[in-house]
């Protein structure tokens, strides 16, 4: 196929008013307090995601019924400055052991606070599941979902960008 689409990594930066070590702690140990509850894998309601605090650890979802669902792994655990997570969820929020994408989070002191830089890379690997993606993106689950995303985004805009 003549597909040469290579998406750039998703990069995000945010500044938080807390020292580096605390920012790292909230991101990891406190992930259950900020992770969007709507983004879950299991059938049961999400209790909280868990990032095990060591390289080689698990990154999983703990549900209210006690069940656990894998999200990925902890590839590097370097408090307070760096965290490398392996994200193994498809865009439909299902775990795929063959899918390996990386989420690197850097915490850098800046003034009184901390600058957090997040990079989600190798997301093209999600696209390598071409058949599944065709279903999820152009099928009834994916396409309307994207349009909904678009609608939410458009509604949140104050003016008309066009």
């Amino acid at each position: 196929m003549n597909l040469h689409v290579q998406p750039a990594p998703v990069r995000k930066s945010i500044f938080v008013n807390a020292p580096q070590a605390r920012a790292f702690e909230v991101f990891t140990g406190g992930i259950g307090r900020w992770w969007p509850k709507s983004h879950k894998i299991g059938q049961s309601d999400l209790e909280r995601p868990v990032i095990e605090p060591f390289a080689g650890g698990r990154w999983y979802e703990l549900d209210v019924d006690g069940s656990e669902c894998e999200i990925g792994k902890v590839a590097a655990w370097e408090p307070p400055s760096r965290l490398l997570l392996i994200w193994q969820l498809t865009p439909e929020f299902t775990f795929d052991p063959d899918l390996v994408t990386e989420v690197e989070v850097m915490f850098a002191p800046e003034g009184e606070g901390t600058r957090v830089d997040l990079e989600h890379r190798h997301i093209e690997r999600m696209g390598e599941k071409a058949d599944a993606m065709r279903e999820s993106v152009s099928g009834p689950g994916g396409w309307p979902a994207l349009l909904q995303l678009y609608a939410d985004e458009a509604n949140s805009e104050k003016g008309d960008a066009a």
């Binding site: 003549n2 597909l3 938080v16 991101f27 992770w35 696209g127 396409w143 994207l146």
Partner: protein, 105 residues
């Protein structure tokens, strides 16, 4: 928001959303798409270019024609989705940090 913004901009136009809907039925040439729509072929080509730049469609040559199809990898859509996901997740993270710092004081 760069990439997501591009996808959303692409979707902002009613005609472009209609073009995408047509392509959901299967690959089509510019002419075939234009036949269904009250817009000129050059206009359709322009819309397809925007959709292609956003990673929502791709094309291939078939003789002298260009056949467009929804990008089967769905990378534009997927990336927009992730972009959006991390935006809201990090905003929520920052809010939680602020909340904790306030409690400390």
């Amino acid at each position: 928001m760069a990439n997501a913004a591009r996808v959303f901009d692409a979707l902002h136009d009613t005609t472009r959303r209609t073009v995408l809907e047509r392509l959901r039925e299967g690959p089509k040439s510019v002419g075939e798409i234009a036949n269904d729509l009250p817009v000129s072929r050059p206009a359709v080509s322009q819309h397809l270019k925007v959709l292609k730049d956003a990673g929502l469609v791709n094309d291939r040559s078939e003789g002298t024609r260009r056949i467009y199809h929804i990008d089967p990898k769905g990378l534009g859509a997927m990336r927009a989705w992730l972009d959006q996901f991390w935006d809201s997740a990090l905003a929520s993270f920052a809010a939680e940090v602020e909340r904790q710092e306030k409690e400390r004081k």
